[in-house]
């Protein structure tokens, strides 16, 4: 029994590789209403909830970066927490040591992560699957150690970390800093998601997915696989790095132990539960990795980890291909049921289909 490339793609990426079933019009309506709700929300919530929602968007953006690499590119990474941390530190160092305005640190953080990611993508070309996982995992383990390293303490502040000033809202807006950070993050998120959506739909995106689905066939069609794979690494690190920069604003503090292997693993959990190769799925992943540990914590302090694990298992049993795959399968069932109903109606009324 061999699998066709298409089946292989479905197995690897969940339902993400299958063509979207929603009509564009419905999709744009959904996106529009989601953005509208997101825009009104901070005016009605307490500042703690606003802070949490900001964090959800930041995690969602970081997971989007991982998704570009893993969901679309088919390369596995256990080290995206390191890019997140790198982005956060670039922002913190630029703001506190060089007095750079906060909004300028975003492109800098993204740019540096892009360069580091691309450079890391070069050796990654030699490695596949679990061996690549180990190499990226080395990145995640090495970063906190490097940040604590006494030779770099002048920049990184060593174990103490760096305090980051919270960005103030512009004077003409009557909102507090938490709300401003929320809107700022939302704006960055929308731009980045639009960019990712276009990237995925473009010729480049198709090339990236072709390499994921069948590297040899893709190379035979003339796709420069090493180039695209390396660039995917860079772009993915760019997205996660920008998320890290936003994370530094939100936490108002960066320290080496915030960026351990556990962060990388929770990105991966968010990605898989949200749905590989799905853009909205990333936000579901962000919601999950932010809220579910908190919920588990309130149920029982001693067994919080166990409850988190059980919830994870329940979600993956119910939705093995993530939230996105689940929605897509549900939608497919619904539309098949609808079309069958119209066929039956047509037969009853004596019309030919």
């Amino acid at each position: 029994m061999t699998t066709t490339p298409q089946e292989h793609a479905v197995r690897f990426a969940g339902a993400g590789a299958v063509r979207r079933l929603a009509w564009p019009s419905t999709r744009y309506c959904l996106i529009g209403s989601a953005v509208a709700i997101a825009a009104v929300l901070p005016l009605t919530c307490q500042s703690f909830v606003i802070f949490q929602l900001t964090e959800v968007m930041i995690y969602g953006l970081a997971i989007l970066g991982l998704n570009l690499l893993t969901g679309f590119g088919g390369q596995f990474s256990l080290g995206h927490g390191a890019f997140f941390g790198l982005g956060a530190y670039v922002t913190a160092i630029l703001m506190q040591h060089y007095d750079v305005a906060y909004y300028w640190t975003l492109p800098a953080a993204g740019g540096i992560c892009f360069v580091v990611g691309t450079l890391f993508g070069l050796p990654a070309l030699r490695l596949q699957g679990l061996y690549l996982a180990l190499a990226t995992f080395a990145l995640a383990v090495a970063l906190p150690q490097l940040l604590k390293f006494h030779g770099l303490e002048g920049w990184t502040g060593g174990v103490q970390g760096i305090v980051v000033d919270q960005p103030d809202a512009p004077d003409f807006l009557p909102i507090d800093p938490d709300q401003w950070l929320y809107y700022f993050t939302l704006a960055v998120l929308l731009v980045m998601f639009a960019g990712a959506a276009n990237l995925v739909k473009s010729r480049t995106g198709r090339a990236i997915m072709a390499i994921r689905d069948h590297p040899i066939a893709a190379a035979a069609m003339g796709i420069n696989a090493p180039l695209y794979k390396t660039l995917t690494f860079g772009v993915s690190a760019f997205f996660t790095g920008v998320a890290g920069a936003l994370g530094a604003f939100a936490a108002q503090f960066v320290a080496p132990d915030s960026f351990t292997l556990f962060l990388s693993i929770s990105f991966l959990v968010g990605l898989i539960l949200g749905g590989m190769g799905s853009l909205p799925g990333c936000l579901f992943g962000g919601l999950f990795v932010l809220y579910v540990p908190n919920i588990a914590q309130t149920v029982s302090r001693g067994l919080a980890g166990a409850i988190y694990g059980v919830i994870m298992l329940l979600v993956i049993f119910v939705m093995p291909s993530g939230a996105a795959g689940f929605t897509r399968i549900a939608w497919a069932h619904l539309s098949r049921w609808r079309s069958r109903r119209t066929q039956v109606n047509n037969l009853i009324e004596g019309r030919t289909p």
Partner: protein, 292 residues
């Protein structure tokens, strides 16, 4: 020279721990074709059960054998209950399963046996071996047991029908099923074996690193690194890889000036990635060849 020898021996002693873990990582990889992130937590859980048995007054070796048996059954149960339903899910879904299992076992350990550090007995004693200061009897015993397990595993996989069936089931499930191998049960058996080997590893490590819920986490990182360095398809490679990681880490810490002490783990990982550049499937691993 004396310093070098001393550091190499100390590295080998640490390496024996990593080799134990690497071996169980490779075992489960051979059986299920996945890297099990919860491996270390399963071993810790088994070690806690052993501690409980000994605490209740059972002799060491009785507790040892009982725990290996319990772990074997537990491993099979985990596969049947948790991972069989995920068999047809996308590949990465089982990764979430591993992480969830990790989280559940880790938090369960802490809840049942709390987070205080417990000492764990060793059957080999802690006297210096032959009066030498380089290595003590427990470390020597640990290396000996690891070597013995490796030998048994080799005999099992190369010399028995069941071992052959398990290898076939992991390498090519469809063809294996066509020749009448019950692939599902082979996978479950692989889990059982990996859990039992992990339990042995945990009980050997516990006297050195002391028993607590996070005992295995650091060790597991090195164990993975050792397994990947040696090649995930080769049990002997994993053991050698584990020893190599221990030695590299110790030598880097001692002999590389300025950065060595703070960054010895980082340096060890850089060395491993550099080796992988030259041998992308590990030193002793088979390169994966796929039919187009």
């Amino acid at each position: 020279m004396q310093l070098l020898l001393q550091q190499v021996m100390a590295g080998l002693a640490n390496g024996a721990i990593y080799a134990c873990v690497a071996l169980s990582v490779v075992m489960i990889f051979l059986a299920i074709d996945h890297l099990n992130f919860a491996q270390g937590e399963m071993a810790t859980f088994s070690t806690f059960i052993a501690w409980q048995f000994i605490h209740w007054g059972l002799p060491y070796w009785v507790a040892f054998i009982a725990v290996v048996a319990v772990s074997f059954i537990g491993g099979i149960a985990i596969e049947r209950v948790l991972f069989k339903p995920l068999h047809h899910a996308p590949i990465l879904a089982s990764l979430v399963g591993f992480i969830a299992l990790f989280s559940i076992l880790n938090s369960g350990d802490g809840y049942i046996w709390d987070y205080t550090i417990k000492s764990f007995p060793t059957p080999f004693g802690n006297k210096p071996l032959f009066g030498s200061v380089l290595i003590d009897t427990h470390e020597a015993g640990m290396i000996g047991v690891t070597a013995m397990m490796l030998g048994l595993i080799y005999l099992f996989f190369r010399g028995t029908r069941l071992g052959l069936a398990m290898r076939a089931a992991a390498a090519n499930p469809e063809s294996a099923r066509l020749v009448g191998i019950r692939v599902g049960w082979m996978t479950a058996l692989g889990w059982g074996l990996a859990a039992a080997i992990g339990a042995v590893g945990g009980m050997l490590i516990a006297p050195v690193v002391f028993l607590e819920p996070n005992m295995m986490f650091g060790v597991l990182l090195y164990g993975f690194a050792g397994a990947v360095l040696g090649g995930l398809t080769s049990p002997a490679g994993a053991v050698i890889g584990g020893f190599a990681v221990g030695v590299i880490e110790n030598l880097a810490g001692t002999f590389i000036p300025y950065v060595g002490r703070d960054l010895k783990l980082t340096i060890a990982l850089v060395v491993i990635v550099a080796v992988l550049m030259v041998r992308p499937s590990g030193i002793f691993g088979r390169a994966v060849v796929s039919r187009v």
